[in-house]
């Protein structure tokens, strides 16, 4: 425990730091002071806040289609060029096979899968020598049938690329998506009861 670890927690998964809303009160994280108080001890002073909000958050889950992804590896030499070729073919094949996903995306594990467009694309010389790249073909479908059809057909297509291994068996089934939307409702609409059961 240090000033740094406490600070890191203060900025984790918050929105406006002056108004960190919880059902019991709204905290203001911009007035407190952190002070080292010996090993593994931090003193926090001047914490402020506001009364509890009149509105409460409610999370609504709803059916949002089906997700299916499949990973294909491309290896040295010219791993990246092979991967890009496969990506272009992926989109063309979807059209040719008359498959209509809600969304489809190809992501390069080892390059931009986690940091997306903030990553500079590798220069050509480096790209030629990359030992291996995994491309994740991720798709979203309206129905489970469409997702299953894609799963069966696409594995046949990428399974026949020379020198490009992928996991032939035990492909996971399409995942049902529960989409999420938060909204607010008046506290007065929420009636809570508390029961305490003694367990021996």
């Amino acid at each position: 425990v240090s000033r740094q670890t406490v600070r890191e927690q203060l900025v984790y998964e918050i929105l406006d730091p002056k108004n960190y809303i919880t059902p019991d009160g709204t905290a203001d994280f911009t007035t407190l002071q952190l002070e080292g108080a010996g090993q593994n001890r931090v003193r926090i002073t001047n914490m402020t806040g506001k009364p509890r909000p009149d509105m409460l958050k409610v999370g609504i889950g709803y059916h949002g289609g089906f997700l299916f992804d499949i990973v294909q590896w491309f290896v040295w030499p010219d791993a990246l060029e092979k991967a890009r070729y496969a990506e272009r073919n992926f989109y063309e094949w979807l059209k040719w096979a008359d498959m209509k996903p809600i969304e489809a995306d190809a992501q390069y594990a080892g390059i931009n899968m986690c940091e997306g467009p903030t990553v500079p694309w590798p220069d050509e010389e480096y790209a030629r020598d990359i030992p291996e790249i995994a491309v994740r073909f991720a798709t979203k479908w309206n129905t489970r049938e469409e997702a299953e059809t894609f799963r069966k057909e696409f594995r046949r297509v990428i399974g026949c690329l020379p020198g490009s291994p992928f996991k032939q068996y035990a492909l996971p089934a399409p995942t049902r998506i529960t989409a999420y939307r938060p909204t607010l409702i008046p506290r007065s609409e929420v009636h809570t009861t508390l029961k305490i059961k003694e367990v021996r």
Partner: protein, 115 residues
Amino acid sequence: MTVVIPETGKMQLKDICYARSGDKGDKSNIGLQAIDFDEKVYELIKKKVTPEAVQAHFKEWSKGNVHVYPMDNVKALNIVLDHGLDGGMTTTLRWDGTGKAMCQALLRMYIDVDC
């Protein structure tokens, strides 16, 4: 550790900041913290890491407003990308649905030290 900020030139945020990120639904939150609570670093990032700069850095991954909330007391900026997670964890095709790596992606940003 003492941070030396040159009079001119560019600095990459990874050399002067810590960062941690997470999600609130479709909103991506990135806590950008001046290294070792350094006052000069904090003043610099407060001036340079603007909503416009963050938007330009994340390009098509940021599809809504960007907010930068200063936290002078802990020498940190809380950055929120309103539609930064492609719909959020359960619906996005992105691998990093909760945006845990968005902080590392932000640390790639270069800022001008002069002016």
